[in-house]
Subunit: 397 residues, 2 copies
């Protein structure tokens, strides 16, 4: 599979080289989504999924010793497209292209960077996502699993990534790096496979979900459950619960953004807008701005997948047994925590809680806050301000 990626990249290099001498630095990598399948996965909850397929991408070259691997784990509404472009025509590159690439903080001239789609990815209908979840066909019935799909946890996401790496004969991770839900996976990696993980970077993350955040996540689930089309999760032969999904996506978008940036980007609220005065059911330009975008993306998402993601996040405590301290006691990796000061979703106290425990355990965790106006999304958009910290951490012994 690595050969396919390399040849695609080389074709593009030839294509661009005439027009751009410094192409490697200024043009994004061209990447290809790969697919990985394995059978009979037993979840942490003890259920068996007969066939698991997830997508993955990689950037850079795996060295002969196979010890230059950095795993990137994705956030709630994200997927494995962390860097590069699928085609030169793509409007945007992968979400962390600012820090992943040749000469960048996560330097693909040195590291083989690999990123995989999780189980129950939020957007299974996105052609660039390959995932297994309630919308997948149950091989035993030939129909979508629906709610027969077992509840899965962040540990299950990690275990599936472990199988992917094993298939590539990779037994060591130079680092695992993730933002938000990706940070939960990154930390879980260092608890579940402590001898395999040398460095762990948690961006806008947490060591365990607290009651407040578990409740906040539930609000994302409720609009889908309320949607008359939801039908107890059995909607694959009818209309999808798109109204509920739209509400959920809009809520995630608004809560992930700090007021400063949202107010800069959204239309200015109108004074005494006529339509809003006509009926409480009518919209306004501010609301249209938020909901129209979410409505556009809703058909790519799956209602059940969103509910499973909410549940996976709600159930998270690093190690998934005992308490957070007993989970973190297993960590052998060097750790770096990068919460965002203005994050309103996974606030810095959550990262600090894990850092305090690791310090008590004598593990010298590193901690720095990302400053920015984006709120939770500073983990994506303001991460370049921490590029040098990240580079230093990744290149340290």
């Amino acid at each position: 599979m690595q050969r396919v990626f390399t040849s695609i990249f080389m074709i593009s290099a030839v294509f661009f080289s005439a027009s751009c001498a410094a192409q490697e630095a200024s043009e994004p990598l061209l990447v290809e989504k790969q697919s990985f399948t394995f059978n009979n996965y037993t979840t942490l909850g003890g259920e068996v999924i007969p066939e698991v397929t997830v997508g993955w991408e990689s950037y850079g070259e795996l060295n002969t010793a196979k010890d230059n691997v950095i795993l990137i784990t994705h956030f709630f509404s994200g997927n494995s497209h962390a860097a590069g472009k699928y085609s030169a025509d793509d409007v945007l590159p992968g979400y962390w292209d600012s820090i992943i690439g040749p000469g960048k903080a996560i330097d693909t001239n040195k590291f083989f960077v690999i990123s995989s789609d999780t189980l129950v990815n939020a957007f299974p209908n996105d052609p660039n996502v390959i995932t297994t979840g309630p919308a997948s066909l149950n091989p035993e019935t030939g129909k979508p699993y629906g709610l027969d799909f077992p509840v899965v946890t962040i540990r299950d996401f990690v275990n599936v990534q472990y199988e992917l790496l094993k298939s590539l004969d990779i037994n060591k991770l130079h680092a695992v790096v993730g933002a938000s839900m990706g940070s939960l996976q990154a930390l879980e990696w260092s608890v579940a496979y402590p001898d395999m993980v040398e460095r762990m970077v948690s961006v806008i993350g947490a060591g365990a979900m607290d009651a407040w955040t578990i409740m906040a996540l539930e609000h994302w689930a409720r609009p889908i459950k309320h949607d008359p089309n939801f039908n107890g999760g059995d909607y694959y032969e009818g209309e999808a619960p798109l109204t509920g999904i739209t509400s959920t996506l809009a809520m995630i978008t608004q809560q992930a953004m700090h007021p400063v940036i949202m107010n800069m980007r959204a239309p200015q609220p109108e004074v005494m807008p006529e339509t809003a005065l006509e009926s409480v059911l009518k919209s306004t330009p501010v609301l249209d701005y938020l909901f129209a975008n979410s409505a556009n993306r809703a058909p790519l998402a799956d209602g059940n997948h969103l509910l499973y993601l909410v549940r996976a996040n709600q159930l998270f405590v690093a190690g998934h047994e005992g308490d957070l301290a007993s989970g973190l006691a297993k960590v052998k990796a060097k750790t770096l925590f990068l919460p965002a000061t203005n994050d309103l979703l996974l606030q810095p106290y959550l990262a600090k809680q894990a850092v305090t425990i690791l310090e008590k355990q004598g593990k010298n965790p590193q901690y720095a806050e990302i400053e920015g106006v984006w709120g939770h999304l500073d983990g994506l958009f303001s991460i370049p301000t921490k590029a040098e910290d990240l580079r230093t951490f990744l290149e340290s012994d």
Copy 2:
């Protein structure tokens, strides 16, 4: 009406005097809900409501000059019960009993404190709430208005209070004081009736809604609109949209509380809870804690009223014309703004925005932040930490 209140209080004073010498200071005032009705109110949007009835309460005595009046305006999920108890058996007194009463910051030995229910109050089925809104009978049809009720604004809430005061022959407000949505009314009072308002106190408030908050409010509306029982607002002859209302109330509760206090009060999240692993539709003790309370309160609320309240808040900009600066230009009152540092709902930047404009207009607004662990609810529960600032402000010339 004042006589009724006084006699009730005196009966209770006699009842308690035998057992408690310091009764006035240690026992809450006993209060009675009053009712005020007037006809043919024309809304800011130009619609006529044939009959408006709202509840009100008062604490202390109106002096002969009728110039010792402090108006208290209530928050989104509140009502006019700001202080005292209806009966000595009441578990809790009114929401600001800590600062309203004999010798307290808002001293009922000096001031006649009056508080009214707003139009479209969230809980019209609460026997202690008297309001007019979509659930009220339309005298023209004999049936509930439903969505035929006109969209109303914060200015309309204020104009109804103006009619109430006029009926009591009150033409001057020593002060108007409100928290959250009550702060919007307080500020609007000082813009709409600048010659009548001498002092304005905005607690956990704003001068205008920004795009981010308008969106946050819309998330409160969506679960009700999604509820299959909602039926476009026409549910008064069928089942009420209680599932949606429960989601809305739970969202308000969680967002009004800071994680610190919520995590102290909610059950500790379980590790690998069996029921949560069985199905994404199953609950957990953390979620039960939040939603059971909201489900209990849901039958007292009305779905349409909640939508109208959301809309009234979304439409708020002090003055309701031009921009915030042109509204604030009308203010003649002395102003005091008390946002809460840890508020995640109406964050201090909203109060600061109004303060900055008033300063530019040379009006010397006062500003102090309430410190606490409650978040938005610090405006209710940590207000005693600002009792002396409040007393000084109210007793200043």
